[in-house]
């Protein structure tokens, strides 16, 4: 019992420290300190990009969304009151922007033909250096698995995908997800459950003979 109380107090103090850190950063941003802008980008640019990419599954669209998100963050930082954490505030903006981008995409760009070159051409050279720690089989299998997961994510309902991505890829708590999506905790649980079920069905259909994934097909009672 004593341990749990200690853990709780440690958790709270960590949260307080994070809140203070957020407020300090926001105050520095309001004062126009260059280091604060740098720090904000260092902390959030990569997670925001990953979230936008997973929500849209379109690298160029994700790039546009990330720029929009940071523009909004920089312009509206004065109105940030600290009622939520900086992280949830930025993630909420990202989810909204991704939602707007998806709607815009379906209205305008659905019929456009992609003329971009392969993603390898636009990637950093560091990304193309092979990882010698893994065998080619593991590498190939891991890549194939990732491709399948990404493809399955694309197929499920965007509403459920948002919840699953925020939980399983961005690693946020249920409370944070509820705050970001502006829904109740029960709705978050339901969306995550449905999203995972949908994903499981998608992957079970395509990975029936893959024991490495340890996916066992449903059997009738």
């Amino acid at each position: 019992m004593a341990t749990s109380i200690l853990d709780l107090s440690a958790e709270r103090s960590a949260e307080c420290a994070a809140d203070n850190d957020d407020l300090r950063l926001v105050e520095s941003l309001r004062r126009g300190e260059e280091r604060a802008y740098e720090e904000l980008l260092t902390r959030f640019q990569q997670p925001v990009y990953v979230l936008a990419l997973r929500l849209l599954e379109d690298p160029s669209g994700a790039s546009d969304v990330v720029q929009e998100v940071f523009l909004k963050v920089f312009r509206n930082v004065a109105s940030f009151r600290g009622q939520s954490t900086l992280k949830t505030w930025i993630y909420r903006i990202t989810v909204n922007e991704a939602h707007n981008a998806r709607r815009w995409f379906f209205r305008h760009r659905r019929r456009e033909v992609e003329l971009d070159t392969s993603p390898d051409d636009t990637r950093n050279w560091k990304e193309n250096i092979p990882d010698e720690g893994r065998s080619p089989f593991e590498e190939a299998f891991g890549r194939e698995q990732h491709v399948m997961v990404e493809a399955a994510l694309e197929k499920i309902n965007p509403i459920f995908r948002e919840a699953v991505v925020l939980r399983d890829i961005s690693d946020l708590s249920y409370e944070e997800i509820a705050e970001i999506l502006g829904v109740s905790l029960g709705t978050v649980k339901s969306r995550i459950l449905r999203g995972r079920e949908a994903l499981r069905e998608e992957l079970a259909g395509s990975l029936k003979s893959r024991p490495a994934l340890r996916l066992v097909p449903k059997t009738a009672e």
Partner: protein
Amino acid sequence: MSCEYVQERISPLLDEQVDPAERETVLAHMKSCRACSAHYESMQSLRSALLGVDAPAMPANLRQKLRVLASHECARRVSRLTMAARMNHLRDRMHLAFDNIMRPFGLPVASGLLSAVLLFALLVPSLSFAHRGGADDPTNLATYPQLTNVGALSDAPEIEDPDSSAPVYETVLELKISPEGRVWNWKVLQGNPNLTPDLQQMILLRKFQPATLFGQPTWGTAVIGYRHEFRYIVQG
């Protein structure tokens, strides 16, 4: 407890979102039910697969764009803090604009100046010529009036260089010579101001070669000194 109920609890169970009592119940059911156990395992695999999805690195150009965006927004915010900051911002912008306009001219002007100096330094030795110390060279661009007709006088005057001799003249006259070579006026510089009629006649009848400027006859002045023997000294 139905399998449907248990399978709905599997997802929150993975996230530790069920209370301990319910957790025990669900786990106990899964031990006895193969289907629910398989469901749990597949859900667990799915979760680990999702967690293992690579986080793609941001494109380098996006990083660059974000830095530029942050820099612009930072400058914009600073410029709006106070009136002094606004004025500073405006001044900086003008300075930058001026720099941007002038910078393209910097290299051409500097290189032009340098090459002109270099060229001048190379050409100066070939342009230089020998000087005779102190003495002016006659250029014949401008000449003084000179006497041409002195033969009518019985006592022929002799032109002398006033510098080479140190004569004592009785009268020194300054004559104004017209472009036609005639004496136009005179002024007595030294001696008796009232000239004798013979001397006046002699002066008026003298024919001079007029002064020239760039080859054209022009007005000139001659200084004449004479003694009783009519020795003329012409001085420009």
